[in-house]
Symmetry: C2
């Protein structure tokens, strides 16, 4: 997969109404607000993570929930060293599988019988599919759904390694494993993912939490192996913690997602040298906005608000300017040096990449200042 990267057939699409740009446009012409991917930065980030995983001897299962883009997923598989994808919802998995991705882990629990039925049908499309389980009561419905469709779903036991969200206590893994195997399901491993740890900004504090997560996970995996279960896969880790899991000798597979594009929150997370993670993984995702009003000296209003930028993880970063606030369709900036004029385009680094991408229908791939590709956000809105 070599650049220029392909785009879908855009015949009949009206720029400004259906799509934010046409191929070959300069960024100055892109309709705003639009979601930009700097392809050079993206490729560097994919190469950096590929090399890091190779050095550490672990696999990369790229987290597709971050981008929900089948095109970006294909690039991660083709050149980014990913062995497969993960995602959080059955509807996301369906979108990826229908787009041709063939190895998908749902890194989450599914309990609704309707969702289990959908899950069990996915292998019929030629995909290898896995799911997490954290409750013995989940096993029989999953096994029944698989039997109904004559398919096999791989199962991983999710343990709570410190985040306190889903997952069973490490001590409780063996009885659950016995139930899984007794039901005829294929137990392939353990998921140990600590989402909250990813965002601990101080390195030493994050390292301490990672050590705790490792200890809990090692205990659970040890119990399972001592009981005779073949645990081929230990999966987890994210862009803020993968160096810990990757060098532990315990995790076999990392679920990093945000590393590919980064965001303002991750840019505040520090490595061992006190550098922001964005020094190693430069931001590749930006929301392009335009100044639409300069109502008074030193104050600029832009056309990207909460419907273009997720707001719950803090305000976006803009080079040399301070964002003062977001409302539905506006962002406001202090411009004390009067640098901005109406119509100026600015690139904002969003606070949180995953929910920001999910607001947009298209990713505009830029090579330098020119549109190289348009990628649909394949699974946008697919949270069911």
């Amino acid at each position: 997969m070599q650049p220029p990267y392909p785009s879908p057939d855009l015949t009949g699409y009206e720029p400004g109404y259906d799509i934010p740009a046409l191929l070959g446009w300069p960024v100055q012409q892109v309709h705003t607000p639009a979601l930009l991917i700097d392809l050079d930065a993206l490729e560097r980030n994919l190469a950096t993570m590929r090399a890091a995983c190779a050095d550490m001897g672990v696999s990369l299962r790229a987290h597709g929930k971050m981008h929900r883009s089948a095109d970006l997923a294909r690039l991660q598989m083709a050149v980014g060293g990913a062995v497969g994808l993960c995602c959080q919802k059955v509807s996301e998995a369906e979108a990826f599988v229908r787009a041709g991705l063939r190895d998908v882990l749902i890194s989450n629990e599914l309990r609704d019988p309707a969702k289990l039925d959908r899950l069990a049908r996915l292998p019929l499309l030629g995909a290898r599919v896995a799911v997490c389980v954290d409750d013995a009561a989940a096993i029989a419905p999953l096994a029944e759904a698989c039997a109904r469709h004559g398919t096999q779903i791989d199962v991983l036991i999710e343990i709570d390694c410190g985040a306190g969200r889903c997952g069973i206590a490490p001590d409780a893994v063996v009885p659950l494993a016995q139930i899984i195997v007794s039901a005829g399901l294929n137990l392939t491993g353990v998921q140990a993912y600590h989402g909250k740890m990813q965002h601990i900004r101080d390195f030493a504090a994050r390292q301490a939490e990672a050590a705790r997560a490792e200890s809990l996970t090692r205990h659970a995996v040890g119990l399972l192996r001592d009981a005779g279960f073949a645990i081929a896969t230990v999966t987890g880790g994210g862009s803020g913690s993968f160096g810990f899991e990757g060098t532990s000798g315990l995790w076999t597979e990392l679920q990093c997602g945000s590393y590919a594009v980064m965001d303002a929150d991750y840019a505040a997370v520090r490595d061992a040298e006190g550098q922001p993670l964005s020094a190693r993984f430069p931001p590749a995702l930006q929301v392009l906005t335009q100044v639409m009003s300069l109502p008074r000296p030193g104050h600029a209003v832009c056309d990207a608000g909460l419907k273009s930028l997720s707001g719950e993880s803090g305000l976006p970063l803009a080079e040399g300017l301070t964002c003062l606030g977001l409302s539905d369709e506006h962002s406001e900036f202090a411009d004390p040096d009067h640098r901005l004029k109406v119509g100026d385009r600015m690139r904002l680094i969003p606070g949180h990449c995953a929910p920001t991408i999910n607001l947009h229908d298209w990713l505009v791939g830029l090579r330098g200042d020119r549109v190289e590709c348009l990628w649909p956000v394949t699974a946008r809105g697919r949270s069911f």
Copy 2:
């Protein structure tokens, strides 16, 4: 327009993949997360606002940015007393006009030449369209776009009546009005909208801010009328403040949006009697979610997170339970009385209605506990 309300042709749509439900389904069957509208509550809210506007002798221009639904807009026009719609972006206006809505105000500034060209083409589809201006430099490009397409766009001067976002200073209205009229544009009035005031929770504090906004607006309108300009329309007001503008004798038109469905933020705004606004306008919008994990006693994890509920205005409300946090695809709840079991459906009132609706492709209209209609979120994602 009588219930049962129409839905688009859903032939070929797969429930769970394309749509969250089928018509007639009980709510217990709706795929989660899904966005519900309680049609009885919606109708009550529309009737309450219609009666309030009639009592006050002002028009209602319902804010379509809140719901982005052509079907809900049609209901507001047919039974809710609305004389027209407003919205914030030209792409939203295009979606509404293409869906048959014929009177749309863009309650915002447009400066990008490409957007002005799109705006000036909208009357060719049979719509009456108006836009706001807050800068003399905006006039010539707007007039040129209208001349290019042989159309007329009504113009309103936006004044800053206290929010400090867009809008010119009230003192500066007359020179701007002269430029608008000299350019051959149709100056129809003034927009005075104070978004931040809507959310001031204390009634007396909100009333004081409303008095300040009224004084600024009265000054600007007086200057324009003294200078000989016919100011037919003074438009503004929102769900938190409309009683002030509506009884001022100054505003002719109110731009309320959230009143139709409400949200957790508005439920904390108090009226003169200390009652929440939701006592008069009951919440009609809910995100349906399911318990997907009970990892330890007293702690429930549900399947609606930041991709189903806007998170920047606070956590959602759930009857009798406290939401502890939102992540991309999860919400966590304290359940000290162990009321919940896996698979239970809960209805969450989102923190902020407009960006929450914009996350979803469909509004599921419920009559009691049964799906009466499915409305596409017509302008979802149309922020450009």
